[in-house]
């Protein structure tokens, strides 16, 4: 794919200025879009996605400073250069305070403008190189479909590698979305049974009365509807591996039978007089504190100890934020390919947003967010806005101990001090969604509420 040119948006009420800047910037290999005013910008900007905007300060209708504010708000990744026929020191300082890259007086010094355009191009290219580096890192730190360069994940991969050839049973624990099934598959693929079957079974997805026949099979006529004899999953997995997800959901009678299979390799079809012998490696997983279930009398203690001979605990995404950039790069690459889009990665603002989000649904949630953002994005880079729109929409949050266990990085004493105006603007921008606003501001929801209280906005 040919390298796309960086895009410059020029806004000036004087058509002659638009023409001359367009001519100059096109020669500098920029794609140029011109507008005679800032009125339609609110709706146009997300689709235009300029890398840089050159804006006249003195325009009728919407003034250049307002355009500057608007761009900084809607598309913080777009750099803004102001130009004016009336340069004063005060107005220059004001512009820079509002986030302008520079302030040029007319007639334009094209030497200076070229330097600024070079800066824009350099920043854009550097960002791209970084994104490429992230996805290279992702492939380097990939392990059986899991990605992690953090020390916890590297240790985990190492543990899985060492256990795979030997473990006959294993218990994998971790919050929802941390990749328990991937670990189970890794144990299978790296073990001696890699050429045999891997059968996955979700204990939370089965009606209680069907557990037995699903897992252990039934004879013909064993119960109403059992018109044919059927092998259970343990028989199907004979010689291979069975993965029991959400094992904490198993009803007590099935727990007893499961223990028998694990201890003696013996399964008995429902309605059968005699048992059969199978050789199955059993890997169980749970997102519950299984030991608490044992204490509460809901899970058999002997089965628990049988399963957790080998216990593998997966860290939550919150515990390994350093992996977010390469996970993100890998997912963007995956979905860009699937949706046929030329997405190179995420903007710095979007990256900050992803880094600060709490991720109760862990890697799976991150993957879903990237998938939706990639689907909606129209640019080459996922912007803060792209990510925010799908973060705000948010999947239903699984129950999880709230705030105290989960301080977001922004909730430290060093959290940024936003003034009332910023908070109001951001709230307005996300349609009053406070979780989304908090994420955008890089502070926790509680911190946002505190701030709203202090501004009397609540």
């Amino acid at each position: 794919m040919p390298e796309e040119r960086p895009r410059l948006l020029v806004i000036d009420d004087e058509p002659g200025m638009l023409a001359v800047v367009e001519r100059f910037a096109a020669a500098e290999d920029f794609e140029v879009v011109t507008r005679t005013g800032g009125h339609a910008l609110l709706t146009e900007l997300p689709a235009l996605k300029p890398d840089v905007a050159l804006v006249d300060r003195n325009m009728p209708e919407v003034g250049g400073l307002d355009v500057l504010r608007l761009i900084r708000e809607i598309d913080p990744d777009c750099l803004v250069i102001l130009m004016t026929a009336y340069a004063t020191v005060d107005s220059a300082i004001e512009a820079v305070k509002l986030g302008a890259l520079d302030y040029l007086s007319k007639p334009l010094d094209f030497g200076r403008l070229r330097e600024l355009l070079d800066t824009v191009r350099f920043r854009r290219d550097r960002r791209r190189r970084l994104l490429v580096a992230d996805s290279e890192l992702a492939s380097r730190f990939e392990f059986c479909g899991m990605i992690g360069r953090s020390p916890v994940m590297q240790e985990l991969f190492d543990l899985v590698r060492r256990l795979a050839p030997h473990a006959r049973t294993a218990l994998i624990t971790g919050e929802t979305g941390t990749g328990k099934e991937l670990v189970a598959r890794a144990l299978h693929t790296l073990g001696p049974r890699r050429d045999r079957k891997f059968v996955a079974f979700n204990c939370a997805a089965v009606v209680e009365t069907l557990f037995e026949s699903e897992l252990f099979g039934h004879t013909r006529g064993a119960f109403t509807g059992a018109v044919e004899a059927k092998a259970g999953l343990f028989e199907v997995a004979d010689g291979g591996t069975i993965f029991l997800d959400e094992v904490g959901e198993l009803p007590a009678p099935v727990q007893a039978k499961l223990l028998r299979v694990i201890e003696y390799g013996e399964v008995q079809r429902v309605g059968a007089a005699a048992g059969r012998t199978v050789d199955v490696r059993t890997i169980a997983a749970t997102n519950r504190q299984l030991f608490d279930e044992v204490v509460a009398g809901r899970f058999r203690q002997d089965l628990y100890y049988r399963l957790n001979v080998v216990e593998i605990n997966l860290p939550s995404l919150h515990e390994r934020p350093e992996d977010i950039p390469c996970l993100t790069a890998a997912f963007v690459g995956e979905f860009a390919g699937r949706f046929g889009k030329a997405l190179a990665g995420v903007s710095p603002g979007a990256e900050r947003l992803l880094h600060n989000a709490p991720w109760p649904g862990n890697v799976r949630e991150l993957r879903n967010v990237i998938e939706r953002a990639c689907m909606l994005s129209e640019g080459r880079i996922l912007s803060e806005r792209d990510v925010l729109s799908v973060l705000g929409a948010g999947a239903p949050r699984p129950a999880r101990p709230r705030a105290p266990a989960l301080p977001t990085p922004g909730d430290t004493p060093a959290e940024p001090a936003h003034n009332r105006r910023t908070v109001e603007q951001v709230l307005q921008q996300v349609g009053g969604n406070r979780s989304a606003a908090a994420r955008l501001l890089g502070i926790s929801r509680r911190a946002l509420y505190r701030r709203l209280d202090s501004f009397g906005l609540r």
């Binding site: 100059f24 003195n58 009728p60 003034g63």
Partner: protein, 72 residues
């Protein structure tokens, strides 16, 4: 949230407009000078036009009644 950023008095407005038009002239001279090869006969003419336009820009603050603080 529209703010008026246009100059206040009719005279300032006129100066502002003049500067804008002169900027277009200066700018196109710049662009053309970049495009024309060294030694092209038109270069000298363009340089003349640009010098004259820049001289006019420089004269703007000296117009009677123009606020001297507004130029940089």
């Amino acid at each position: 949230m529209t703010e008026s950023t246009l100059p206040e008095t009719p005279r300032e407005r006129l100066v502002h407009e003049f500067k804008n038009h002169l900027s277009v002239i200066v700018g196109f001279c710049d662009v053309l000078l970049r495009e024309l090869p060294e030694g092209d006969a038109k270069r000298a003419d363009l340089a003349q036009i640009q010098r004259a336009a820049l001289a006019a820009v420089a004269l703007l603050p000296e117009l009677p009644g123009h606020a001297s603080a507004t130029d940089a």
